[in-house]
């Protein structure tokens, strides 16, 4: 690991390829081990909880949106009491402890997009996220880059996600800094008028409920992503894999 690289006037050792661990992670491990030693729960309990928490995923949010799109009375309940509406589709924010998972609390506000208003969520202080509905947040949602830039330059950040909105559409950033958790209810796209709830749920991807993308009839959550050929490949012509160079 004695490799160095130069920056002209100075050089420094290359960063070693080790996993960083934060003070808070060390604190969590210490508290967890103490709790296990004290017999509050077992290591197996902890593993089971982690396994449960990590398999949630965004499908619950997709179902909530699809039902809200097809059932105006349900949509009204979603907007007035998100936690109660979740219970109607089998998602209980109180699981598995009776009070919810740590830091998820029991306050959900669903933010409805309109033709003139687009919501996008962030947590500038940490990584607050509606986990009972959407599962764990994506890595970029927790990155300092997204957290610090979305509040200051929302349109530029959305453009980096491929979402360009006209200036007349109000962009409303929701900085989730206390106990409310937020999810975006996007607009139902044109061309889906005859679709069933199940079909609709397939196009409501995680990013649409964070607000960095819009649902489209031609893009499902489980679509195989297209392979884009380079338009100006290095060295001239593009060659098919396996073809002769």
């Amino acid at each position: 690991m004695a490799q160095t690289h130069d920056h002209g006037d100075h050089s420094h050792p290359a960063a070693p390829m080790v996993e960083e661990i934060s003070d808070f992670e060390i604190l969590e491990i210490a508290v967890r081990e103490l709790a296990i030693e004290k017999g509050l729960f077992t290591a197996e309990d902890h593993r089971k909880f982690t396994e449960w928490a990590e398999q949630i995923g965004p499908a619950g949010g997709s179902r909530l949106v699809a039902k809200a799109w097809t059932d105006p009375a349900f949509k009204a309940r979603v907007l007035s009491d998100g936690v109660a509406a979740c219970r109607e589709i089998g998602i209980d924010w109180a699981e598995p402890t009776g009070q919810g998972t740590p830091s998820d609390y029991m306050e959900l506000r669903v933010l409805e997009d309109t033709p003139t208003l687009h919501h996008v969520i962030v947590c500038t202080l940490c990584s607050c996220y509606p986990r009972p509905l959407l599962g764990h947040s994506p890595y970029w949602y927790r990155s300092p880059n997204y957290r610090r830039r979305l509040v200051r330059w929302p349109r530029q950040v959305l453009t980096e996600f491929g979402l360009v909105l006209p200036p007349e559409v109000e962009i409303r950033v929701e900085d989730s800094n206390q106990k409310c958790r937020f999810m975006v209810l996007p607009m139902r796209p044109a061309g889906t008028e005859s679709w069933s709830e199940e079909q609709l749920a397939e196009i409501v991807t995680r990013d649409c409920m964070i607000g960095v993308a819009l649902p489209r009839p031609d893009r499902k959550a489980d679509d195989v992503r297209p392979v884009h050929k380079a338009s100006r490949p290095v060295g001239g012509e593009h060659h098919e894999p396996g073809g002769s160079p």
Binding site: T97, T101, D175
Partner: protein
């Protein structure tokens, strides 16, 4: 994850009220972002009543619960030279951090 406090603290503001975020000192912990301090916004919603994070961080369960609000700011008010007229930002703040700004 803690029991929600309901001390029935009197709420100081109503939806639509103009407020300004106070610039109080940070005593070790706060969830009031620096970028909203001193900025004027509008109460968009009342949320719940609970302990302040400044108290919760120290397990001060006997502290006075307060009303929390979702406050809406204009991006132009938060950031110098912000170029888009209509854009807004919302975040959540309790009574202690807000003062009337009805001018």
């Amino acid at each position: 994850m803690e029991s929600r406090k309901t001390g029935n603290a009197p709420a100081h503001f109503n939806v639509g009220d103009l407020v300004r975020v106070k610039d109080l000192p940070n005593l070790f912990y706060s969830r009031t972002q620096m970028y909203v301090r001193g900025v004027r916004g509008t109460i968009a919603a009342r949320t719940y009543e609970d302990l302040l994070p400044e108290d919760e961080a120290w397990n001060r369960d006997d502290a006075q619960p307060e009303q929390f609000y979702i406050v809406r700011f204009r991006q132009k008010d938060l950031w110098d030279g912000y170029p888009f007229e209509n854009d807004t930002l919302q975040t959540e703040l309790p009574d202690r951090w807000l003062e009337p700004a009805g001018d």
